[in-house]
Symmetry: C2
Subunit: 180 residues, 2 copies
């Protein structure tokens, strides 16, 4: 998972994987079927709901709090020095050679699912009254997710926890202007 996270799908070779896992290609293929299969299991491990800051944040009592927790939780994860910087789902399949487009679509689908979750949480906020009726869930969700994805690039460019949290400060200020 960490190799794919750091180097991306194509940037991680079977040699890197087998030596890191301490097994031979035969065992890897017996257990995972293909490089694709291993990658998907790695992504599933990465984005397991019980550990995903995004999924956990959606349970917050208000939509604003859910978005803020999502951004702050992911910002901290992106800047964690014990793991590769940024988000695996955003970074590991951004640019792919011909023949691997399905990997990009798979990751784009996960990003889309996150966007949908955020938008649904925002809609709920409008329904429950903690957001004004005029708030546009589409725009608010796109804004939040755009900042989220930008944080991954910032983290990969070396931004630390404080810097990312300062960006979230700005994003939440923008949220308060948009959500009224």
């Amino acid at each position: 998972m960490r190799l794919f996270w750091q180097h991306g799908y194509e940037g991680t070779s079977l040699t890197m994987l087998t030596s890191a896992m301490g097994i031979t290609p035969t065992s890897l293929y017996a257990a995972f079927g293909s490089k694709d299969g291993l990658f998907r299991e790695a992504v599933e491990l990465y984005s397991a709901p019980e550990a995903s800051p995004t999924d956990r944040a959606m349970g917050a009592p208000t939509a604003r709090e859910a978005v803020e927790r999502m951004l702050r939780g992911n910002a901290d994860a992106y800047a964690d020095p014990d793991t590769p910087p940024g988000c695996m789902v955003v970074l590991s399949g951004i640019n792919l050679a011909e023949g691997h487009e399905h990997v990009g679509r798979y990751l784009a689908g996960l990003r889309r699912a996150d966007l949908d979750k955020v938008r649904a949480r925002i809609r709920r906020g409008v329904e429950e009254g903690d957001l004004p009726a005029g708030a546009d869930p589409d725009v608010l969700a796109s804004f939040a997710v755009t900042v989220l994805h930008g944080l991954s690039v910032q983290a990969r460019d070396g931004a630390g926890r404080e810097r990312l949290q300062a960006v979230v400060d700005g994003a939440m200020a923008g949220w308060d202007r948009l959500a009224r």
Copy 2:
């Protein structure tokens, strides 16, 4: 340039390049020295100051206007259906195999240079009084660039011009809360 832009540095093979350019590997190497050399010339063409929305935007009369022009100009470019979606400097070298780290550092340096340009323009705005003295150029520039980079991912995920511009609306609202 378009191939590297679409598929990234490693995702673009010499076969793709030579067939697209209509030349043989020998001619390519005689003209550009290496795949790296061609990639760098492609990036330089992509980010030529006279065509770069970011460089052109920095000439705006106020810092706020400069940032807004940068975001809106790049958003339009990212969503241009005639070119690959998103920013080549952000997307073409995010995830690299071992041995190609220098390509990633090269692109990160360009991103850093853009961040520095934005921060310098913001500092000038504080000096010239169109931004309040308490505005923090570091935070404002990081916020603007984070949104900018997030727009690239949104564009690659299929967001169109209107959607990206709506995100910029939100970002500028956030700017107005931060810059006071």
